[in-house]
């Protein structure tokens, strides 16, 4: 792999381009959490009463933080990167400079992670206004670091899909068959305790499940069972996805 500090230049390029889209993307990033927190948290939560001794919203927020980071990072590395490669030809010009294709891809994954972080942080701010805050101020900071990591993980996974995608339509397979189902199997909206054993087993294989458990532990301060191996699983998966995505994108970009 040919990676250097030049990754930062690719990130910078995205930041420049982002200037023009800041307002619309902030609006989208704000409306999405409000939608989740109000419909599920307030609307559905009203029927659920206390949830582990607390209002449902307290259960929901940490899970949605993780899933929002996942969503934004994934979409950025699917659609955002695809547009840059196929429609805007940004990569074509970029690789004629001392910046390598590997760095371009890594920079875009970093960028996806950043977009995930923005979504997560906005969500956290909205939650605080709704009376759901991390158990201690430093935990907010820990969650920021965690969301960056979640973004790198799901950004890399999405980048693998982008590397083999012939067109936009191809992304539906990934978003509809993997990302969306994962949202409902990973304990974002309800605990997995009542799943039958095979469904639990399935859920345990999904990275988002562990991200949600860890996010909840970081948020509430209640220790998560098996947090060590969960972190290890996600870290190994992230490293593998990153390496594979770079290799596969190189195949797409270098002919």
């Amino acid at each position: 792999m040919s990676l250097s500090y030049r990754i930062a230049y690719v990130f910078l390029r995205n930041l420049y381009s982002y200037k023009r889209f800041v307002v619309p993307t902030f609006l989208v990033s704000l409306v999405e959490p409000l939608f989740y927190l109000i419909t599920f948290g307030v609307g559905m939560g009203a029927y659920m009463g206390a949830f582990g001794g607390q209002p449902y919203l307290h259960f929901l927020v940490p899970g949605v933080l993780a899933s929002a980071s996942m969503m934004s990072a994934s979409f950025e590395c699917l659609y955002g990167t695809f547009v840059k490669i196929v429609h805007e030809k940004v990569y074509d010009s970029l690789i004629t400079t001392p910046v390598s294709a590997d760095e371009a891809v890594a920079g875009d994954i970093a960028w996806g992670s950043f977009r995930g972080l923005i979504s997560g942080v906005l969500m956290m701010v909205v939650a605080v206004f709704m009376g759901v805050a991390p158990a201690a101020p430093w935990r907010a900071l820990a969650l920021v670091v965690f969301m960056i990591f979640i973004g790198l993980l799901f950004g890399s996974l999405a980048m693998i899909v982008t590397s083999i995608s012939p067109s936009f339509d191809f992304f539906s397979y990934y978003t509809e068959l993997i990302i969306t189902p994962m949202l409902f199997f990973s304990g974002v909206f309800f605990p997995l305790d009542h799943f039958p054993a095979w469904m639990k087993g399935l859920a345990e294989a999904l990275p988002l499940t562990h991200a949600v458990v860890l996010s909840r532990a970081l948020f509430t301060g209640q220790p998560a069972p098996g947090w060590g191996w969960r972190i290890a699983y996600l870290a190994v998966l992230a490293a593998a996805a990153f390496a594979v995505s770079i290799r596969m994108m190189r195949k797409r970009l270098i002919k």
Binding site: R20, V90, T96
Partner: protein
């Protein structure tokens, strides 16, 4: 003058398809070297290997003594690329396109600012610095591509069909700029399928066809050696051939029939024209031989897709 680029037995294959079939060439420092050929001749593939974005399958290729390997940052750092396709960053303004490219080349902020001001002037785009790319005409976009390629003060410029899709004014402006760069000592590599462009700019050129080099030389001399000085086109039906050729028997001219036209390639055509006029043919054309004739002779007149 020293040699800047050397290729020997340079080959590029994609699966079963051979895009470049073991070619040899040398490009001297400070000259304009052209790759001329029809679509699919292997010109673009060759220059992409030179500027290190496409891996060499086999053979040796060096730029300034360095191996032209994929991602060779030293070669890329001294090269400016003017691409065939307009790949400006449409999310960025004219100025930002240059700012971000300066970053890619590790150029410090203050230095970048000075160079960008100078390049905007060079490309006559000062008034458009804050414009979006979509607000530019094709000619302006092409000029910005040149400015962008110069941001790192390159020793070598690779221009891949730099005037595609331009009107004559815009094309001549680009040619002037490229010649200006050459006069400043920059080495220029040009690919083109426009004969006029090759004749306008190139000191030496190779004619490529199906991944091979058919001919190498100085444009003017190539024309004279391969074709002669003059071409006469006689548009008559093939039935007239015997009569026309009979009339021409005394002249040392090569001839060729293509479709509705009988071509004569001659060293000296004046008396010949007189002789042809005696035949009272309705449609004859006497013109100087050009690179286009060489090109068509060497690559055949069939369509190359």
């Amino acid at each position: 003058m020293g040699t800047l680029v050397t290729a020997s037995a340079l080959t590029k294959t994609y699966g079963d398809f051979t895009a470049v079939a073991g070619i040899d060439f040398e490009i001297r420092e400070g000259e304009c070297f052209g790759f001329l050929g029809p679509n699919g001749a292997g010109k673009t593939t060759t220059v992409r290997m030179i500027h290190c974005v496409s891996p060499v399958t086999s053979g040796v290729l060096t730029v300034a003594g360095l191996p032209a390997r994929i991602d060779n940052r030293d070669v890329k750092g001294m090269t400016g690329v003017i691409p065939q396709e307009i790949d400006l960053d449409v999310d960025l303004t004219v100025e930002e396109n240059l700012v971000i490219f300066a970053r890619f080349f590790d150029i410090g902020r203050r230095e970048a600012k000075a160079r960008i001001a100078e390049l905007l002037r060079f490309a006559e785009l000062e008034a458009k610095a804050r414009s979006k790319i979509s607000e530019l005409s094709t000619g302006m976009k092409r000029r910005l591509l040149i400015a962008r390629a110069l941001i790192n003060r390159p020793r070598l410029i690779v221009a891949d069909e730099p005037t595609t899709g331009l009107d004559p004014q815009a094309r001549h402006l680009i040619w002037q700029r490229l010649r200006q760069l050459k006069n400043q000592g920059t080495t220029l590599i040009l690919t083109t399928q426009y004969m006029e462009e090759a004749q306008q700019l190139c000191d030496r050129l190779v004619i490529m066809h199906q991944g091979r080099i058919l001919k190498e030389g100085v444009p003017g001399r190539l024309v004279e050696d391969e074709i002669g000085r003059e071409v006469i086109e006689v548009r008559t039906p093939p039935e007239d051939d015997a009569r026309v050729l009979g009339q021409m028997a005394g002249f040392a001219c090569a001839h060729e029939r293509v479709g509705d036209t009988l071509y004569f390639y001659c060293r000296e055509g004046h008396g010949l024209r007189q002789k042809l006029l005696e035949l009272d043919l309705p449609n004859t054309l006497n013109r100087p031989a050009t690179l286009e004739d060489v090109f068509l002779k060497l690559t055949g007149r069939s369509l190359h897709e």
